[in-house]
Subunit: 446 residues, 2 copies
């Protein structure tokens, strides 16, 4: 697989004027930060992609078909019986104390030894990202992010008018020298870098994992430059071999804010995630959380707490790993067998996603309607960049469909790509799509 | 009861520099909006107020002791059994479609006929406030709020660096002429008013209710001036007589965004609220919600949905009304019997709160430590103003303690007030407290 495009990108996250309309009497009144908040035309295609005849390789919904619903049902009735008035009441803005202790246990395998007082429970990791951005980012502040990066994070960063600078990755994750260069360039221009945002394990969308060696290098680079690291780790326990990479936070408690989530290791429906942050940061995070939601849902937290203490949750994670490994194998096998020459892709060792790059001249965003017509969906690469890049690539999810459906989806996709290549050979390369707006499916579109 | 202080207030929501510290290596890196985010010294007093020997009249925790936990428990097991994979999965950023329909039914008694597509489910009303502020407010934009106003809203407004201008209320709620004057003054100064934030029913913290006549006047004033109204209605179904005041939204669907919540009519632990907004606004709200939490918890929503369809929830609301009426009677009776002359208070006909104002020269924030020493707690009035006013007043909650404890609390409070009055008579009036920071208890401090 070739390298990702160069780290030096011109940021196009500048305000785009909202499309005024006679239908919107408030058009002059929205805040400046909303100018980037539009759902692109691609969004509506994902609604179509949810139809059963379409093989969707687009969504990131965890496969929870294997969860023992009867066990969960009994845990919940017991919860109401034993602790109903607590579960149904307002709780602490920082989150349930017992759950925060359990979260510290959950983090031990990744080498992190945190204190429950430094843990803040959030409404999923997404809210953690939102709160961290809220407390650190003034409009125009720079955030370093991988190229590509997680669409939900980019959306949050945009809503606080941050300037996102993408930094190159390759098969081993973020490239340390590119981090160094990006920091030097940004600082030389007089701008402030507030943090580096990274998903080191089984990256969404790229599928790659940052090597142990590079983690140390990047920690050193950021420490020297005084750049905070925000380490987002929803998939760390979902390595197919059962390997659990050591978190960056384990080697730098003061310089790294760690984000975790139960969405992929248990289930997303409760929306329970957390941050582990240095004390002073944690204080501000809690105040920000209180002004945003007052407190995270008590019921959700106690449900997760009961699950952790009352069920073999680690055994369930192991079952999930097997399920995802089988699907990843199906996808990689199908790609190996069916993709035309000139396409290349990452080979993840965990998580949910493969990052596929097409030959030069193809545009995955422009191609999506034709793919959906051929009854397969993916997420165009442009969704994962703040600066318009990514049009040669796409993210393929293997987490949700069956192995047979995955193979069928890749087959349909390969057909579309081949047709596209023939068109290009006949008529020339497509212009790059640079239309603004959110190119990603909604959270529940599979 | 005398009138609330004049509407023309100098706003002191300007940035306060954060207190730097050797313990906080990030002190130079926080965003400007965090400068107002501190918990005042008063916060720690509320932790003391949670101790059983203290009668806390401070907290706003709904009294859910009467909820039928066995019924809720069975509803939840059935939910997992019938719809477990949906309840445990990611959902739509706008919220569960069936719940949105049910919410439209819930709103009918207040005269609102909304469409499910204009409803957005939020993580409590607090998140609705956060999202609305996020999509409308640029730093320096003006928000008109009642004098006093809800502490959670003020905190959110502050976090987006809005300029809050308080507008006078009296026993019948917001004073229309003062609204008109405030609009004229602000607009003459060249500033932009984005919206008027109001809690028309059983106001938190003031306890008063806006009359029907004034609702029409204020709707007219705001329509003429092009000022949006944000109508926050958590207590609308909790009038002691069973009266349900007609919502402002009922008479102006385009000019009013309506906020509702299940926290007081069912339970807070699921964190389920909603907005009803004009279509174009709703679109932006959903995008903002997605970048903030991806989607509200599916489990919480389906739990509320099952409760609404599977249980006599209106009968439960009626039971809550009785419970709160009994407690309000106890409080008003105790105040009538025990308060020294010169104190005056509101007489709510629903909701959770009484607003007590002390004779001139007393400072309720300075007095709080002495009250807690005398084993009673309240929330000082300054918590409910963005501009430092309110030091003669306090909010008393009757929702949570038993009627006997309420009476005892008022007795202890009256003692403290009398001592304070003697001190003032001997030594002169206290200076007004203008220290910055959040003077309110945490959500779960009763």
């Amino acid at each position: 697989m070739g390298q990702y495009p160069d780290a030096q990108r011109r940021n196009t996250a500048a305000a785009v004027s909202s499309t005024g309309s006679k239908l919107d009497s408030y058009v002059d009144r929205y805040a400046t930060r909303t100018h980037g908040m539009t759902a692109s035309e691609v969004r509506s295609l994902f609604a179509v992609a949810s139809r059963p005849e379409v093989v969707s390789l687009a969504g990131g919904m965890p496969n929870i078909s294997g969860l023992p619903l009867d066990v969960v049902g009994s845990l919940l009735s017991e919860l109401i019986e034993k602790r109903g008035t607590t579960a149904l009441q307002y709780g602490s803005g920082q989150g349930d104390p017992q759950l925060r202790e359990q979260i510290c246990d959950v983090m031990r395998p990744v080498g992190v030894h945190g204190h429950p007082d430094d843990v803040t429970v959030t409404v999923g990791s997404q809210q953690a990202l939102d709160l961290i951005t809220r407390i650190f980012i003034d409009p125009g502040d720079v955030i370093l992010a991988e190229a590509p990066s997680y669409v939900g994070a980019l959306s949050t960063f945009r809503s606080y008018q941050a300037d996102v600078v993408h930094v190159e990755m390759d098969d081993d994750g973020l490239v340390p020298e590119r981090v160094r260069q990006a920091i030097a360039t940004v600082q030389a221009s007089g701008r402030t870098i507030k943090f580096l945002y990274t998903i080191p394990n089984y990256h969404n969308p790229a599928g790659v994992t940052l090597t142990a060696q590079r983690r140390q290098e990047i920690l050193g680079i950021c420490q020297d430059a005084g750049v905070l690291i925000v380490e987002d780790d929803p998939y760390g326990l979902l390595g197919f071999d059962g390997d659990v990479p050591r978190a960056m936070r384990a080697d730098d408690p003061e310089g790294v804010i760690y984000l975790g989530s139960f969405s992929k290791t248990f289930a997303p429906g409760f929306r329970v995630g957390w941050t582990l942050a240095p004390h002073a940061v944690r204080e501000k995070l809690v105040l920000a959380a209180e002004s945003s939601v007052l407190c995270p849902p008590a019921f959700s937290q106690l449900a997760v707490s009961e699950y952790l203490s009352g069920h073999d949750w680690r055994g369930q994670v192991k079952a999930f790993r097997e399920l995802y490994r089988e699907r990843c194998d199906a996808m990689l096998g199908a790609l190996d067998d069916l993709m035309p020459a000139g396409a290349h892709w990452t080979r993840p060792r965990g998580g949910f996603y493969v990052w596929l790059t097409l030959p030069a001249g193809l545009d995955t965003k422009a191609m999506l309607p034709r793919a959906v017509t051929n009854r397969v969906a993916y997420v165009p690469g442009t969704a994962f960049y703040a600066d318009g890049f990514g049009s040669r690539s796409m993210r393929l999810s293997f987490c949700y469909p069956t192995p047979d459906r995955i193979r069928e989806g890749v087959r349909r996709l390969a057909q579309v790509i081949e047709q596209e290549m023939e068109l290009r050979a006949a008529f020339g390369a497509a212009g790059a799509s640079q239309r603004p707006g959110l190119d990603a499916p909604a959270p529940d579109q599979a």
